[in-house]
Every structure is written in C-alpha cells, then in structure tokens.
C-alpha cells in the first residue's frame, strides 16, 4: 500500500449498525429464543473430581411424570478417534465426546454424566435426583507438580507423553513436552554480567463472560435439525456437533445468536450435542442453559501455570540469554496452550540465545479452553517480570532496556520464522513519551511496564454482498460479532462501494446461507473477514461497472468507479449505484458479490502497558491508580472499538493480576464458583484506562489492518505485578496479588 491512503469512512467513530437492538433489549441472545412445544434440559454433574462410573441407571428418572427424554454417553454414536479440524486446532473427537458426556470415568467435579429433558426446569432438576449412579471414588490430582510425578494417580491409563526423543513406556499425566531452542543459552548466560532467575505461579482463571452458555435446538430426521446458540463460531459448532452425532453437515443448521461475551471460551461445544439427543428422543425442541455455577465448574478456564524464567544481560544493556521451563494445567483432557507459551514468552525480544521447555499436564479440573491469546499471558508474565527485574539490577530504565533489545522486522523468533514489519519499537517509544510515564511517582506508589506479543491469525472467511433494487445492500458474513465488528465490516464495504454507510446492513449468516467461516477468535475478524468483505465489495463494483458499460455501450474498462457512481470515461454519463441497481433486470439480473479468502499474512500486534498502583501497607490491598494501554493496530478501522479491545483486554489482565483465581478444596471442588467470590474487576475498582493507538501498517491487508483483540490481555499481568512489587519493595512472583499474599510479602520484607 503506497503512501497513507485517504479514506472516506475508515478511521471514523461511526454508530454501530446493530446498536439499536442492544440498547433497547431487543437483541436476541442464546437464552432469549423460545419455540412452541419447547421443553427444558438439565445436566447431572459429577459430585467427585476423579471416580470410575460403576453403574448409571436412568430408568427411575425416565419414569417420572413430566420427563420426556434422557441422554448419556451411550447415545453418542461410536465416536471415532479421528481429529476434528476446528477453528481451535485439531481436537481429538473422543476427548470432546467424553468431555460433553463422561464415559467410564468422571475427571472433574461438575463433569456431565447424563441429562434430562422435561416439561419444566423444576421437573428436570428433580428428575436428576432419580438417576442412580454408582462411583468408585479415586484420589484426585489437583496440583501441577503432583500430577507430573512418576507415581501420581493417572487420569488416563492410555496417555503417554508426546515429544520425548524416545517413546516412554509408562503412561503419565504429562500429555506433551515441547522444546524450542535458538543459539546457545549456556554461552549467553556465561557472557552475562547480571542473571535473574525466578519461579512464577499463575492461577486458573475464567474468561468471565456475563452470558452463560445456552442453546435452543430442534432435531428432526429430514435433515432439518436446527441449533440456535451463543458461540464464537457456529460453523465449528456444526462441525463438532455433527461429528459427535454422526450427521452430515448439510443436515444441521446452526444459527449464531447475539453472543454475550466469549473471549475464547465459546469456541467449543458443551450443551449443543446433548440438547440434540434430548430433542431427538423426545421429538420436542429443547432449551438448555448453564447457570453461573455450572459455567465455572464445567466450562473451560485458562490454564494455571508454573514457570521458571532465567534472563541474562550485560552492563551495556544487551540481553544475552533467555530461558524458561513452563508447565500448564490442561484440565481433564490434554491440550493446554503450553507450547504457545513457549513460542510467545520471549518474542518481544531480539535475543540470540533462547531455550523454552514446555509441559502440557492433565489434572482433575475442567478441560481448559482458549482465553484471549491462549497460553501467552502466563508465559509472558514471567518473562516481563524477569526483564523488569534485570533492568532494575542493571540500573537501566525498563523501557530503554526493552527498546535496546526490541524485536523488529527480521528478528528471528524461537518458533521459526523471522518477523515481518511490526510496531513494538513504536509502542515502546509511545510509552516512553506518554504523559503517564513522564509523571513522577509519589511516595508509596509503584509502577510497572510490560510488553505483549500475539501472532494473530488469518484463516477462512466467506462473505456475500447482495445488492437490492434500490441500491442498498446486505453484507452476509460469518463471524459472530462480539466487540462491534459489524461496524467495521460496514465501513470497509462502504469504503469500496462509495455508498452511504446506512445503505449497507451487515448481518451474521447462519451455516446454510454462506460457506464455512472459521470462528471469531485469534483476533482474525477485522483482518480476515474484513479482507473477504473488501473482496466481495470489489466484486460488486466490478459488476456495477459492467452493467453501466452495457447501458452506455462501452467496454467495462472504459468505466471508472468514484464515490459510489460509475463514470463513463469514453463519453458522457454518470450513474449512481442506485440507478444501476434499479435497471438490473434489464442488464442481466440481480447483483451479488462474493469474497472467499483463506487470509494470509496476519500481522502480529504488539502491546505495551504502563500501570501505577498504591498499596495499603496495613492490609495489602492494591489499588490501580493509573493505567495506559498502548498497542499497534496497523490501521484502526473503528477507533472506538479498537480502544475498547485495548481497555477490555487490560481490565481482564488486571483482574488476572489482582483478584481472580479458582479456589479448590482438597477434594477438587471449586469453592468460589460464582461472581460473588470469583472477583472480576468492578466499575469502582478501575481508573479510566487511557489508550494510545499505534499504526504500523500490515501490508498483507488492503488497509493495513492488524487484529487487536488479544494482545491487550498479556501486559497487565506483569505491569500490575511489577507495580505492586515496586510499591512495597519486594519481588512479586505469584498471582493474583490478593491482599493476603501482598500483606505476607510486606511482613516478610520486615
């Protein structure tokens, strides 16, 4: 893209096209659909964290008045081991099936065992008590280090660690071990004047979306089955659900309702396959809703982690070696993003010698799911804390140390490729020159700064733009819109077509109205779906030019498209989009443009955050008093929603750093499964979150877009963690910085 392109709509703060319904309560979320004859499904969940299922008898429950159908694992057709390719990488479908409904063993407290559909929720709830289950209770494995021991009780007798040079012969709770290395870390450490080595611990946390999982489904044999659910990817819900129920994709229509937050946690299936079984066996539509307690106990949190980080640097500020050993909890089934932690931990740094060893470890807790840059926050927390400590020990300003070693274009990453053009240096400079960083701290205040890297992905998006006879158009796209992306899609289409924004209506098509679209996640929507919208809009413009050419009897290349009109360059004549559309039946029929992409060249988005805290030294309570989030957006399509991603990521990261954690008892039962004691940040906990949008264009997108949805959650863990340590004069190594932990650090410091 040559010099900065002049845009008509891009970069404006438009009113989102879907806003009216959301501020009037008319927008329909998953729990808002009721169908005639609908009945209610409820799930029987395991009271044990680790137990064999000896007997499961649902006959008494089925006989209860008002009960219409029952579902257990046996109702799933023979689930094959073949991987399902879904948006979140390969998921072993046997594991997915056993997480949706337990078979032989329950692997976490709250694991679904059976489900009942009945005339009312109350009847369904009572019927669950009539299901007769016999367990052989086993010792739960809850701690990461315990789980990794050779003699630890095993969750899966058939799990052997992948990734060791030779195949181990004993099964283990370590599902996989990965190694990433570059250069020679030992040589690097030998060169270093100062070495920082520290162990870090981060807790299990939840995405905290305010809308619990829910769906309303109706099964019928003639291939007209329908699922209405809250999801980040209805095409992947169709893929996983059809796989589990052995249905052809064409027989299952999935409609994405408005989604009340997902953050990665709604990229898998929990209720949909069960509801369809209950619907099939009862012949009735079935609604299922998780209550908040179930969301915490049985939907995927983000991995708790234990990591050791070692960084070495010379007096001149060169970081000579960076090393980490990372273990992530996967929960009941393998598949934590441990390796992604290894890939991202040190990527903000141009360091020649890097070594990362990562372990994916199963424990008797719910299977983890993605949570905004999955795997990166935990690993980069350790790295950023260690780099800040190194800066302090070298007597170098923490921003300057990061600037001096900043990853740039051409920097070799530990996971392989060299980076293309990125904006970390620009973000660090923006932080250094920010009013926040230039303000002196007062007595008792602490400051932390941290960087964050996330890859961002492209992937498959399909869009059609259908033009109406009056020149207005409908943009049918397939990316569930959580953060306001429909506003960006509308702006990109209007930018290409040159017609007013409100003439274009973006909607999320169901799985029967457009080809496969990958889930909304990986910060891909504005980048990849945006690219497909632009392609579809250009397709429409081309057809409009051809129609105008046919009316003027000239060739299409003699027609130019400017500001929503065709211009006849081979003579007289100008025709607006509306005029051309009005004559479509005369020029060959209606116009519809398509854009099908497997978008490549997703540009990483770097973030740098600055946080000031004050600590009540007598109680250990932390207050965040100032916060600045800086991030590279490549090109901000809708600045308000770009800022919204920075601020939302920062708030979740601050929660992760301050007060969010799963508290388990020794039997593996979560003790704070509710918003009262799982403490996400409140309006009164946070200051205004100032934002700075950096724009280093990503030339693989027509307008230079980089996804911004995820990087923002990474820096706060270390920005807040280091600021707390700075305020109390002690080293923080364990999150969250809850008052009891901080007070202990203060007391130990003496």
């Amino acid at each position: 893209m040559s010099e900065a392109k002049k845009f008509n709509f891009i970069g404006q703060r438009t009113i989102r096209p879907d806003g009216h319904d959301k501020v009037t309560g008319k927008a329909n979320y998953a729990a808002d659909l009721a169908l005639p004859g609908m009945i209610w499904g409820k799930i029987l969940r395991s009271p044990h964290a680790h137990a064999k299922i000896l007997k499961l008898d649902t006959s008494k429950a089925e006989a209860m008045l008002g009960v219409m159908s029952v579902a257990t694992f046996d109702d799933l057709p023979s689930v094959s081991n073949e991987a399902i390719q879904s948006g979140e990488g390969a998921i072993d479908s046997l594991d997915l099936g056993r997480n949706v409904l337990a078979r032989d063993k329950v692997l976490y407290h709250g694991h679904a065992i059976a489900a009942i559909a009945a005339k009312t929720e109350a009847i369904a709830e009572k019927a669950l008590e009539l299901i007769d289950v016999e367990y052989e209770v086993l010792t739960p494995v809850l701690d990461l280090h315990e789980a990794m021991k050779a003699d630890a009780p095993l969750l899966h007798e058939d799990m052997f660690t992948q990734g060791y040079p030779e195949q181990p012969e004993k099964p283990s709770n370590i599902a996989a071990r990965h190694e990433l290395k570059m250069g020679d870390v030992e040589a690097g450490f030998a060169e270093a004047d100062v070495i920082v080595e520290r162990d870090f611990v981060t807790p299990t946390v939840h995405q905290g979306y305010i809308e619990p999982h829910a769906c309303t489904v109706s099964y019928n044999t003639e291939g007209q089955s329908m699922v209405w659910c809250s999801t980040q990817g209805h095409f992947d819900v169709r893929a996983s659900t059809a796989k589990l129920l052995a249905m052809p994709l064409g027989n299952l229509k999935v409609i994405a309702s408005e989604i009340g937050g997902g953050f990665g946690g709604k990229t898998t299936v929990y209720l949909e396959p069960i509801a369809l079984i209950l619907s099939r066996k009862s012949g009735r539509p079935v609604k299922m809703m998780m209550d908040r307690d179930e969301v915490f106990r049985a939907s995927g949190p983000a991995s708790a982690a234990r990591l050791t980080v070692k960084v070495g640097g010379k007096k001149d500020g060169t970081i000579t070696a960076m090393q980490t050993s990372i273990a992530y909890e996967a929960g009941a089934f393998k598949g934590s993003p441990a390796m992604i932690g290894g890939m991202t931990a040190f990527t903000p740094y141009n360091c020649a010698n890097v070594y990362c060893e990562t372990f994916d470890v199963v424990v008797n807790k719910p299977k983890v799911a993605a949570y905004r840059a999955p795997g990166a926050p935990q690993a980069e927390f350790g790295a950023e804390m260690a780099v800040s400590e190194l800066a302090e020990k070298l007597g170098i300003d923490p921003v300057d140390l990061r600037l001096q070693n900043a990853a740039k274009e051409g920097t070799q990453t530990v996971y392989g490729p060299k980076l293309k053009a990125v904006g970390l240096v620009e973000c660090l400079e923006a932080a250094k020159n920010s009013p926040h960083y230039k303000t002196e701290l007062k007595e008792g205040e602490g400051r932390g700064i941290a960087s964050g890297f996330w890859f961002n992905i492209g992937g498959q998006s399909s869009v059609t733009i259908n033009m109406n006879p009056d020149g207005t158009g409908t943009i049918v796209e397939g990316s569930p819109d959580i953060g306001g992306s429909r506003a960006s899609m509308q702006m990109m289409a209007a930018e290409e077509l040159g017609i007013p924004l409100n003439d274009l209506k973006p909607i999320i098509g169901d799985t029967e109205s457009i080809p496969y679209n990958q889930s909304t996640g990986g910060s891909r929507t504005t980048f990849a779906t945006g690219m497909a919208v632009i392609e579809a809009a250009q397709d429409v413009v081309q057809q409009l030019k051809e129609r105008a050419a046919s009316l003027w009897n000239v060739t299409p290349d003699q027609v130019e498209w400017r500001d929503g009109s065709a211009i006849n360059t081979a003579g007289e004549g100008q025709m607006t989009c509306a005029e051309i559309c009005a004559k479509c039946e005369k020029t060959g029929g209606q116009i519809s443009g398509t854009g099908n992409v497997n978008a490549r060249g997703a540009g990483p988005s770097f973030a740098v955050h600055v946080c000031d805290t004050k600590v009540d030294m007598e109680t250990g309570k932390v207050d965040v008093i100032r916060y600045t989030a800086i991030q590279d957006a490549g090109k901000a399509i809708h600045p308000s929603y770009v800022e919204g991603q920075f601020q939302g990521g920062a708030a979740q990261g601050i929660g992760w750093a301050l007060n969010e954690e799963y508290v388990y008892n020794d039997d593996g039962v979560m003790e704070n499964a509710g918003f009262l004691d799982y403490r996400i940040p409140l309006a009164s906990d946070l200051p205004m979150i100032d934002t700075i949008i950096v724009e280093v264009p990503n030339n693989f997108h027509p307008y230079g877009v980089r996804g911004v949805g995820e990087s923002g959650i990474i820096p706060p863990l270390a920005a807040v963690g280091y600021a707390v340590g700075d305020a109390i004069g002690a080293n923080v190594s364990e999150l969250p910085c809850s008052p009891p932990r901080v007070l202990k650090l203060i007391q130990e410091k003496g």
Binding site: V23, P212, G484, G674
Partner: protein, 159 residues
C-alpha cells in the same frame, strides 16, 4: 403446585400473569411475558444484568419473587425511551461505544437511568460506585462511565 395470579404494572402497562411461588420476577419477565431484554448472568444478585426498577427502586429481578410484583410498578429496559426514538442514555451509550457484546447493556441503561434520576450530576467516583453492581467483562468500564457522565451533562443541559 397451583399457580398464583398476579396483577401488576410493567412499564406503565397493566399486566396479569400466573406464576409458581418459586418463580423469580426475572423468570416471569423472560419466560412468561417474553420480555427478554432483561438478562440473566448469575441468578444470585452479583452481576446486575437483570436490573429493573420495582416501585422506582433499582433492584435485581433475580432476587425478587414474581408474586411480589402484585400491585407494584415494574420498570424494564423495554420501557426505556420511546418505540421509535432512543433516550439520551441509549444514544450516548452508542455514541461512546460504551458496549461491545451488549449483554450487560440493558441492565446498565436501567441502572444509569435510576442513578441520574437520583443524582443528576454524579462525580466519576459516584457513578462508578453506584454502578459497581453491573458487571461488564468486555469494556473495562471506561467508555461506559464516559457515556454516563455525558448523559448526565446532556440531560442537565436540557433540564
């Protein structure tokens, strides 16, 4: 169990319904009266997504029994603004992009309306503490508070 007949007023409309004694006002609004604008986020009064007004007082409808609505005045999101045009608070929430997923928005708009009726010129801190019972996980609250302060200013300007 035999259902209870309740006569009440919802957004100024005379309304009758039958409900079980254990049904909450939230269950009644959503399942019996199809007023699904009021959302359930937790069912225990900890998230505010189900905020409504009961006789002018801001409450969580998940912590009110449906039968308690007898003879009461209930105000829900569906009663905010007119059918064809939004009120100032709704306009400002859109203008400031004070919502992303929007599940918390109905509760926040009802709560903001109650706040500004009680305190037409709140400070930022007063607004943040009054709205502390409305959880939002997407926005980090910054733009919500800016929309609330702007609404207050605009309404005072008109007032």
């Amino acid at each position: 169990m035999t259902k209870v007949h309740v006569t009440t007023s919802i957004n100024g409309d005379e309304t009758e319904f039958l409900c079980e004694p254990h049904d909450t006002l939230l269950d009644v609004l959503r399942n019996d009266l199809s007023l699904t604008g009021t959302k359930e986020g937790c069912g225990s009064g900890d998230c505010g997504a189900c905020s409504v007004t009961l006789n002018g007082r801001l409450v969580c409808s998940c912590l009110v029994l449906g039968v308690e609505a007898e003879g009461a005045e209930v105000g829900t999101i569906e009663g905010v603004g007119e059918a064809d045009n939004l009120n100032v608070i709704q306009e400002k929430f859109l203008e400031h992009a004070a919502l992303q997923c929007g599940i918390c928005t109905p509760g926040l708009i009802v709560s903001t309306q109650a706040l500004l009726a009680e305190n037409p010129s709140p400070t930022e801190e007063e607004a943040r503490y009054y709205l502390a019972g409305n959880l939002c996980r997407c926005t980090g609250y910054d733009k919500i508070i800016r929309a609330v302060m702007d609404s207050a200013e605009t309404m005072r300007g008109e007032g």
